[in-house]
Symmetry: C2
Subunit: 421 residues, 2 copies
């Protein structure tokens, strides 16, 4: 399997063929048996705690020697508590409702033929991810719960940790009677293997990149396999003239400052010219140590505001910085979002229901919100249990993607000898 004379295409081709065979078995494995396999995998992860920590220590040492930042090292670090958390998360996925086999709709034709659309797994899912080794377990669990085989390609910083986590999970899966090829880890971190995955049309049904912007951009640019991802989360909050001032303040502060590094964090604040207290919103952000880059009108509200440059309106800071501007009515806000947004999550704050409904309909984003913080843009917060990612594409699945997004359907026709006239 690690034969170095193989080309990247041969390695991924072989993994893809084995994954397809495993997927055929997983597709007809009962919900109970898939859950049992995940519970066994979680147990195996707990049993392997020491091994995983030792493997992780090698990654940490190499990372420190290679000059990783302390933030990167913290993302990479595994300890007993974190491994227990990873195992818990796998068990939680085991408890989620299985989407496979659900009848989406059914009908009987005038000639008596019965038609159903039945949910089935997508097939083979490729996950390409960076430093956090917990993705190894999360992605494997979501894939297996929804009956898919998974091909994982983790980052080079976490190679030992990923191998140890993968080995433990496969031991649990095999112990429960399911195929080892249900979850495969790409054998080396050679970047050419990523390229081969991205071109593995027909072998891999969907690629999910999990990581920073440069990874997602490369995947979206090179992939011939369908990709489920978002590149940017340039999320707007529009405070309408009829917004309750106290509510607007709470939502704006939370949307920006609760966690600045997540994709649902507000990056641009649009305040209606008719809103009575724009200076209060701007001061609240500044007082919370958020840098505010404003247009001329916002700059006039507070000395501490910096002037916004043209590029600021199209920037995802993922930091304590916000771009802010005044707009003249909901349609100007919508036009700004259409021109500068990334179709991720955009929100309106208003007490006026008609304006809110107009915004919710006209704003063309995966998630549109009324009187809520954009930081809620998350599969867990939406009640989906866990998410494989958030999609800003328009095909297949949009917004937070969880188990249902990892399925497709087939048409099942039951007849009694019907022929077409």
């Amino acid at each position: 399997m690690n034969d170095l004379t193989q080309t990247p295409e041969m390695i991924i081709g072989g993994m893809g063929a084995r994954a397809r065979n495993a997927a055929a078995i997983l597709a007809r494995t009962s919900s109970e048996d898939k859950a049992k396999a995940l519970i066994a995998a979680a147990g195996a992860l707990r049993d392997a705690t020491t091994k995983i920590i030792l493997a992780n220590r090698k990654d940490m040492e190499r990372g420190a020697a290679n000059g990783l930042t302390s933030a990167m090292l913290d993302r990479l670090r595994l300890d007993e508590a974190r491994i227990a958390g990873i195992a818990d998360a796998v068990e939680q996925v085991a408890s989620l409702p299985d989407p496979v086999g659900a009848v989406i709709d059914e009908t009987q034709r005038p000639n008596g033929m019965k038609l159903q659309r039945v949910r089935v797994p997508l097939g083979v899912i490729g996950i390409i991810y960076e430093s956090r080794p917990n993705v190894t377990a999360d992605a494997a669990a979501l894939g297996l719960r929804s009956g898919n085989a998974v091909i994982l390609r983790g980052g080079s910083e976490a190679v030992e940790s990923n191998r140890a986590i993968h080995a433990a999970m496969v031991a649990g899966i095999v112990e429960s009677g399911l195929p080892a090829d249900a979850v495969q880890l790409v054998p080396s971190t050679d970047r050419a293997l990523v390229g081969a995955m991205l071109r593995a049309n027909g072998l891999i049904d969907i690629i999910v990149p999990r990581g920073g912007k440069s990874l997602v951009a490369r995947v979206q640019e090179e992939a011939r396999v369908p990709v489920l991802a978002h590149l940017d989360g340039i999320c707007h909050t529009y405070v309408h003239a009829a917004a309750d001032a106290a509510m607007a303040r709470e939502i704006v502060l939370n949307a920006k400052m609760r966690r600045t590094g997540i994709c649902g964090a507000m990056e641009t604040l649009l305040i209606d010219k008719g809103f009575a207290h724009p200076e209060m919103l701007v001061a609240a952000l500044l007082d919370a140590r958020c840098e505010v880059r404003g247009d001329a009108a916002v700059k006039a509200l507070d000395d501490r505001v910096e002037p916004a440059q043209e590029a600021d309106w199209d920037t995802e800071y993922l930091d304590s910085i916000v771009t802010a501007g005044l707009v003249d009515g909901v349609d100007e806000a919508l036009a700004h979002i259409a021109a500068h947004g990334s179709h991720h999550t955009d929100a309106i704050v208003t007490a006026d229901a008609a304006t809110a409904e107009h915004f919710l309909q006209a704003c063309d984003s995966a998630i549109v919100m009324w009187n809520a913080s954009s930081q809620f843009a998350d599969g867990g917060e939406f009640g989906l249990g866990a998410e494989i990612g958030i999609s800003t594409g328009r095909m297949h699945a949009r917004g937070p993607v969880a188990l249902e997004g990892l399925t497709t359907y087939k048409w099942v026709v039951r007849g009694a000898g019907q022929t077409r006239p």
Copy 2:
């Protein structure tokens, strides 16, 4: 718009931007107003009958001079009855239920936030098609009914006919108050414009190729925009040991011979070794003037059988030819279909319900059938009203794709000031 100094990218870029603007209007146009526009378009098509026939005559004359076959000329020909049929089809699409605005599911979170997934149009649909000019009207109607803007690129043989049909439809659409850019026709049949459409990521949301294999293959190979299509329809019928012999005969004859040129036509017949009358099925096909290419066992059943070559098992004949072989049980049939099928439509004939259900679950095709002719693989026959195409891909929509397949959804969140803890 026809400025010849423009590059293909500039032409498609301009059309895409205009389409996006039109799509924003269509997305919030009521179901009634979209229906009215289509009824106006149908009326305009009828009013333009003479103009369309004159335009079509130019295409026919050029086609005859260029040596088109009589079958191709017949597909190209428009007369009063065919134009009336095209207008009727547009009216029929107007009467179909509008998928836009439907609430797919809804939930309330413990914090009181209300979540809905609401159907919205995909946005901008590109249709690339060949000789039949009726596609101009069909695709425009399906796109507009589901709130999408459409960019049409027809074949050079039908260029005058397509322009006349397009002009009439746009006149009807504009008369009813909707934007002319709702339905655009690519201004020239320069092949570079097809390439520009296929690379128009972000401008065109989905490409649907309608035509022969070489067109679909080029589109699937070159496209960076998601494609909804099937390349092959290598459909199998498996006659199980427990099949009723008379029913099997009717289904096999219908699946192969009703119309041999459609994608749902049977191309391979698999007969179980335990089926009592394989020679009867083979003779029935031969007597119906179908060429049978068989494996050794089938060849032994009837002198008229030709030997099947290796490539025959992977061939979509679209003609009065069938490949036939004996198999040992349902799992051998499933393995053959997995190895040689195209994931389009595959059927089992049997009186044994347990075997049928096993086949329906294990066969990984867009459409799986029990005791019915594969010729039913069609959106109209499935009760969808009309179809834009049949998809053998696994993402987004599978099998016959009609109005619902031309939509996506957005998450609508209604709160009362919730912030994330």
